[in-house]
Symmetry: C2
Subunit: 505 residues, 2 copies
């Protein structure tokens, strides 16, 4: 009887998820190959499919079955006689079902329309550096987010409800407690670095032919163990990873002949996301548990591969010879050490997505601080441009001239994704913790990396993290893998060790 | 009141068609970019979407509204007070709604499953040249087709019901009356040609670098007026055209470095289909009338561009200089005249898709003759391989050694598409009639072609044929555009004139 109900619930989950995959197919095509004149029609197609996906995911029968199976929103989940994995399944289903059904239909429709408009206006506003144009839409987005938090419910603050969407169990207070000392640690490290001379990195901006970039990116993806039978690499305006199916996880990047390394590190970053999505255990394949444990955990995988591994000396000791073969002209006077130093230059800059490992999290903390104040009412939308500038000054010591390079630079707020930014910084923290744990189990990790053999690393990540998918909560995952709670020290220690050597202080 | 019903019907049509477009997106991706391991999951996604599309297209509300609006399956359609276009809309809706709803749900499901299996077995059987392996599935396909014809109803013979699916108003007797004299005309023309020496064409099989092929195909598509803002060219195992939206009509081709011209003429062929799909008038955009008048009319557009225009002396007088620049090595000792003769070599061969203009329709007639006998019961599935051989001998004077090069060569039967083949030959006939009509209006058509200016031709085709879409019946279209009924003489006259000059008899 209970088995029947569980079976039926799995069936409903399957068809709902399938429609989300179809939506992912349409979106992927939209970002990669859609002819320009077809944009509007595609939006209608997407809205139609997303409507069906939403309908399936909020089927009242799901609520009825969850009730019957004794799921609750808090631990323990479901009947104790059920296998652990099924109880995790019930927890995840309950969480998402509640979040979806708590939002009234009219609210969802009007929010979706407002988001579409807001994004379109943001694109124009960024191009024309016109914050005033965007402000009313941003205000609307804040309004919708506040309402969303109210519908969902939250522990103490509205902002908590938004954070929890991306990082289950996280809240504003805990983030503030982490980000305060993190900010201090990063700023003081940055201070030491700025006293030292910068290595030469101008050669990174030489011309690197795009055909050769493509084939080099390809070989790196293959080396990292990305299975081309289960995915592919295409081009899009902004790099992303998307799951079109359990065996169809695609990544995209962009190539710029005078900015090769942005594209290459994007490929490594997205490969990190893809390995996670491709690594879910067969026992949770295609189910509600076949997802990342949280966005922070997801970002830990991409940023671990991109930075901790992809910007390490061991990585380039192994890779640089083939890079030099691929670009003999542009790298004629460059050796491994010079290259390694160049891709690790630390320098405060205006744009988050171009920031180095040390300053990146400061960009995130700026956004977190502003979001907090937006939702506590301390800050008005109209005050954001100046708050942004003073935040940049105090956190990074630089100040944007234009709003396009400031408050208008990211897409997130234009689509109402408040509470997402912290995931990036959490990814850095989790990543350093995982890296420490990995090296305890694999003391010769760097040697493997240098030899171009990434299989030991990816097997470890697969077994400890990827295969579990969403069956584990982020906090439990970190504790079980690392033997400690989420903490800033491993990340700060990692940076200190790496950059004191690089900048010789 | 009637307006409300019509409005509602248009709305139902719109959402049903939208889901067919989504299905086209998934299929296009499947043929072009799908990672190999994702094949099975994509089949599930497609089945799901097609299920929704079918459900929407067979919504009983459509039947109710059609009733209310007085549509019938025969002329005149709908209330005479309605505008002509709306009455055509009602006719097309009625036709498709009836065809779809007349098939019981269980039948559709079991047929779809059997087709999937049959196609998979056909692939293996063709590879291993094993007709016996495929025979039981082919027998099942014939069985389903017979049942389908019974459900749909037909004038005299089951086969009529299948033909009418692709060519409304056509039937076996009329085809037989056309194809008998057509076959005689083509065979006697072929006889004259085989008495004459063949021009040199070996250079067509030299190596043509694929990158240069791609860019040449690209330039040809652009010259023909294919709007890249509303479509794109990709690669797939078999060339095809598909509409992912009103402004998103994509074509595919394949490149083979030692068989360049197969890929190039495929591009011209598919561009012909695409121009039709992109040319529907805005008054029928996105509606049930935004489709070809019939498959024969559709093929007339592709084959007109591919052969009548694309293999004409005027075309290559204009294009050959740039072809020679693109492939200086492979064409070093070739001039326009030699090239023109080489791409028009007539020679009986085994494979339909590789056949020249003269023998192509004979391949089609072979299949038509076999289909007739299969459905009249004169021929059993087991007798097909030998009937194929004797048909080849009597129509083309050559005989296949293997079934892979014979009865197993085409995909159509494996998916139950009996009655489709005649469309290809009809396309040749319609094409020649349209070409005659075009030249009456545009006497200097050849000069435009030679000058590389195809806009006069495509405008004429657009205005006379494309813009009407499915609002016109194939027979009415030919009569109104050409002032005569479907006839074989224009096609035979065209071939006689072209090839008597080429082969000098």
């Amino acid at each position: 009887m209970e088995t029947d109900a569980l079976k039926e619930l799995h069936g409903l989950d399957l068809v709902a998820r399938r429609m989300s995959r179809v939506s992912a197919i349409l979106q992927w095509d939209q970002e990669t190959y859609l002819p320009p004149a077809a944009v509007e029609e595609r939006a209608d197609q997407l809205a139609d499919i997303e409507g069906i996906a939403h309908e399936r995911a909020t089927d009242p029968r799901i609520g009825h079955l969850l009730e019957k199976l004794g799921s609750t929103t808090s631990f323990p989940f479901g009947d104790e006689s059920l296998p652990r994995l099924e109880r995790d399944f019930l927890r995840a289903m309950r969480r998402d079902y509640d979040r979806r059904t708590k939002l009234p239909h009219d609210f969802v429709v009007s929010k979706a329309r407002a988001e579409g408009l807001s994004q379109a206006v943001w694109v124009t506003a960024r191009k024309s550096n016109d914050f005033a144009l965007f402000a009313p839409h941003l205000r609307a987005m804040v309004g919708y987010a506040k309402k969303r938090a109210e519908y969902w419910g939250f522990a103490e603050r509205q902002y908590d409800g938004l954070i929890d969407e991306y990082e289950p169990g996280m809240n504003e207070n805990r983030l503030a407690a982490l980000f305060g000392p993190l900010s201090f640690g990063l700023t003081s490290l940055l201070g030491k670095i700025t006293l030292r001379p910068q290595p030469d990195s101008a050669f990174l901006l030489r011309t690197y032919p795009i055909v050769a970039q493509e084939s080099f990116c390809d070989s790196v993806m293959n080396a990292l163990g990305y299975d081309r039978r289960r995915g592919r690499l295409d081009r899009s305006a902004h790099p992303f990873t998307t799951s079109l199916g359990s065996d169809d996880v695609r990544i995209t990047t962009r190539y710029d002949s005078t900015n090769m390394f942005s594209g290459l590190f994007s490929v490594i970053h997205e490969t990190g996301h893809a390995l996670y999505e491709l690594g879910f255990d067969s026992s949770i394949r295609g189910t509600h548990l076949a997802d990342g444990a949280s966005m922070g955990i997801h970002e830990s995988q991409s940023r671990l591969w991109e930075n901790v591994i992809g910007r390490s000396r061991a990585f380039w000791n192994g890779m640089f010879p083939s890079l030099k073969i691929a670009f003999p002209d542009s790298l004629r006077d460059v050796d491994t050490e010079l290259f390694y130093r160049a891709v690790n230059v630390v320098k405060p800059s205006l744009i988050r997505v171009e920031a180095d490992e040390v300053t990146y999290s400061l960009h995130v903390i700026l956004r977190f601080n502003l979001e907090r104040k937006l939702f506590s009412g301390e800050l008005d939308v109209d005050d954001l441009p100046s708050a942004w500038r003073s935040g940049m000054r105090s956190l990074l010591g630089v100040e944007n001239e234009t709003d396009a390079d400031g408050v208008l630079q990211d897409v997130h707020w234009s689509m109402g994704a408040f509470g997402y930014f912290p995931s990036y910084a959490l990814g850095n923290l989790y990543g350093a913790q995982f890296w420490n744990a990995l090296r305890l189990d694999v003391p010769d990790a760097a040697e493997h990396v240098e030899a171009g053999d990434f299989s030991v690393l990816s097997s470890w990540l697969h077994e400890k993290i990827h295969c579990l998918g969403r069956s584990v909560q982020p906090e439990d995952l970190v504790r079980s893998v690392c033997g400690e709670s989420l903490s800033i020290s491993p990340f700060l220690d990692y940076l200190e060790a790496k950059y004191s050597e690089l900048y010789d202080f």
